[in-house]
Symmetry: C2
Subunit: 457 residues, 2 copies
């Protein structure tokens, strides 16, 4: 198409206008990305998704390097104009599994738009963000012909399985990591307050599987009178780990937690959280420990957790089977806050089980991520805030860290590189769950914010 | 074939001889029965199995009545010679599901004979018994031309789902139930002592499913900082039900238990139980609470149990999924002893959960069976003992009750009908488990014992 901006002075408002004009095309790109399955844990569609990511990076003329790992490759892209400053976008092209599939109202990998919302697996986490970054640069280039900064893209395919190769990338490709600031995935719009929530970090995670074994095969449950049941042993062990007051009972679990600074408490105080709407949305009548107000927001931001993500033993299909199981397994997810460390938590858990007589219960440490926080006084944070204020009417909320985890620490620890999370999802986007969604408007706004960051950087 | 017994005096030894001569044919009948799937809980092959049972009853000239229920029909058979005494055989033609299918060394529904053992789902529980009864009568009729007694068959298709229609049968067909004694399924040969274990009763059972619900859909596990986790609630609830000393903590759970009589203690004392071999077989290094000797046999016979047969919540496939589950379920099996009653146990469980703050946990009472015991002084018991002694070299062991459950009480409570359990399986037959099996020799001996009972009755 002829370029209408040729030969005239342009400004960022022209970019916003072009984004609006191109919105159907950009939504089409997002649908294309979401319709391609890319479930890393099941190795479903990963290779096809990788090619699709390269296809999109090609649209904006990025120089692409496929960095092989022992898992899925990292797609590294670069637009180097020889400028002074470099801005990096981190995203991931893998998504979570779709189960329970029966609870989706539309097919997870057939993007469906209903009443202003886009439904698909991965649309919130985080293909919406990945595509929005591409679209923003596309629009910027259409209008300005050239970027005022250098841009780098680090798109990995293993975020949903704990980013096992991101540290390898940082160690082996320091020149590719070199940057003045990173726009990270995450960051959401408040579903109620309509304000953008900007994150300056994430909780860490220690994800383990505990395995308890009994007899060498399942037995008739009448044998339970004399043969130990690994399911019961696992239940008793779990009961020693967390009590009904949600207190994690592992010795020294809380010891390394850094007290909050006053500024961080202020951040928490300014958070918006509509308790009644959230209760209604999730169909619950109370929050954990009946928390509300500041305490509830504080828990979401700063409380470490221990979550049973999955437990399985014996016969779990329909009807009755009288079986004494031979094995019981539980998947536990500890969310960590500064300065807890996943390896230490796994070690404390081992000590705890041993001390309580559960030496036989095996711990499989699946993956771990340390927490990460950016200094809120870094200038990069100011630039992003300015950009957000230009696009959104409401001022953003700053979160000391998000409740979720990301591999920020793996790549960024000790680099001094500031990272800020902004994104196109909202607090009710159903990450990792059936009917994952974002709003069409948030996607378009997210493109504009990214363009604004490029301009203000 | 010409009948070689025609016109000469015959005796039971001739029947035994004919059983030996026909053994390959009888094993063929067993294979035919085992190769037909009949998983009642999954409604797999039930209709075909019903027809096969009728086919076998036809071989011995039984008059067959198909008794419709609201589930699978009861196949009732009768050979009425107008004799004074009537002997009844109770068996079931349904079997348990085959999972975990990966742990079978041969196909569960393709009977495989290896080193003198017959492997198939249901071969021990209890198609081996059902077919052995048929074969015995077939052999007896071949030799004697006529039975000295009337014979009835009650073959149900719902034993593995708790026999929901057996009480209906007893109530609506009292004339069909009328008998002088019942040979029940169950009863096994000691895998080590080679002696037949004769049962005079069974434990009862109360099988329930507990369901705990959280949010209305699975959430990202970062939400666990503020949203309750039903898996944790279920674990805490279960922990209040049984402690690490295997004590069931439900108030009044033990109150109705009848103390053992001296004779019953003697029965327990004569039981054979090779502890070391059992440990090796099951790959365990100790029994529950380090029990051994009399205490171990006593537990197996007289201890009520509370068994987690299955527990499930959240993500249980391979790898890591960071999910906060919306629902958690556990299947619990309480084995009961005289005079505990399943309805009362379910009521006590409800009271217990309420008293411990778990009013929200739903109890689904799947099925229940009261315990049942035959008076050891009944003459029918003597006749069966005599028959067993004629066939087996070692005297049998009498069990006050088996460790498993059966719907004996449903049909027999308050009838005064004595029931004795003898069977072709052994104590290592892996009931309900992968690689379920019986020995070929036990199958043949079992046919002979049944023939002896017919003669001695």
């Amino acid at each position: 198409m002829p370029n209408i901006y040729e030969g005239r002075n342009v400004n960022i408002a022209d970019v916003y206008e072009l984004i609006e004009e191109n919105s159907q095309m950009y939504i089409g790109w997002l649908k294309e990305a979401c319709n391609q399955p890319s479930v890393s844990v099941l190795n479903e569609g990963m290779s096809e998704m990788k090619e699709l990511v390269k296809f999109f990076l090609n649209k904006i003329g990025a120089e692409i390097t496929e960095i092989e790992t022992n898992g899925y490759p990292i797609i590294y892209g670069e637009i180097n104009n020889g400028k002074e400053k470099t801005l990096t976008f981190y995203n991931h092209y893998d998504v979570q599994p779709v189960d329970p599939i029966g609870e989706w109202d539309s097919e997870p990998f057939e993007t469906d738009i209903r009443e202003g919302q886009i439904f698909a697996r991965g649309v919130a986490d985080n293909k919406g963000n990945l595509i929005a970054r591409i679209c923003a640069l596309h629009a910027f280039l259409e209008v300005y012909k050239e970027l005022p900064i250098n841009v780098k893209f680090i798109f990995e395919g293993e975020e949903e399985v704990g980013s096992p190769n991101l540290e390898f990338f940082a160690t082996n490709h320091p020149e590719k990591l070199l940057t003045d600031g990173i726009i990270w995935e995450g960051g959401t719009r408040g579903a109620n307050d309509k304000r953008l929530h900007i994150g300056l970090g994430v909780k860490g995670i220690c994800y383990v599987e505990l395995v308890c074994k009994g007899a060498n095969s399942d037995l008739h449950s009448s044998e339970a009178a004399i043969i130990e049941n690994p399911a019961w042993r696992l239940i008793w062990a779990l009961n020693t780990i967390k009590n009904e007051n949600e207190e994690i009972l592992i010795k020294d679990f809380y010891s390394d937690i850094k007290p909050l600074e006053e500024k961080e408490k202020e951040f928490i105080g300014t958070m918006d959280f509509n308790e009644e709407e959230t209760k209604e949305l999730y169909g619950i009548d109370r929050f954990i420990k009946n928390l509300s107000g500041y305490d509830l927001k504080d828990a979401l931001t700063t409380a470490p957790t221990c979550t049973v993500c999955g437990i399985e033993s014996g016969y779990t299909d329909e009807g009755a089977k009288t079986v004494l199981p031979s094995i019981a397994k539980v998947k536990l997810d500890f969310r960590l806050v500064p300065d807890q460390h996943p390896d230490k938590i796994a070690e404390l858990l081992r000590n705890h089980l041993d001390a309580h007589g559960f030496q036989d219960i095996e711990i499989k440490q699946s993956h771990g991520l340390a927490p990460f926080n950016t200094d809120p006084n870094d200038l990069f944070v100011d630039k992003v805030l300015k950009s957000v204020k230009e696009v959104y009417k409401e001022p953003p909320i700053i979160l000391r860290n998000l409740a979720g985890s990301s591999p920020m620490s793996k790549m960024l620890v000790d680099t001094g590189i500031p990272a800020v999370q902004i994104g196109v999802a909202n607090t009710q986007s159903k990450y990792h769950a059936p009917n994952e969604n974002i709003f069409v408007d948030d996607f378009i706004q997210g493109i504009k914010v990214t363009a604004a960051v490029v301009k203000n950087f």
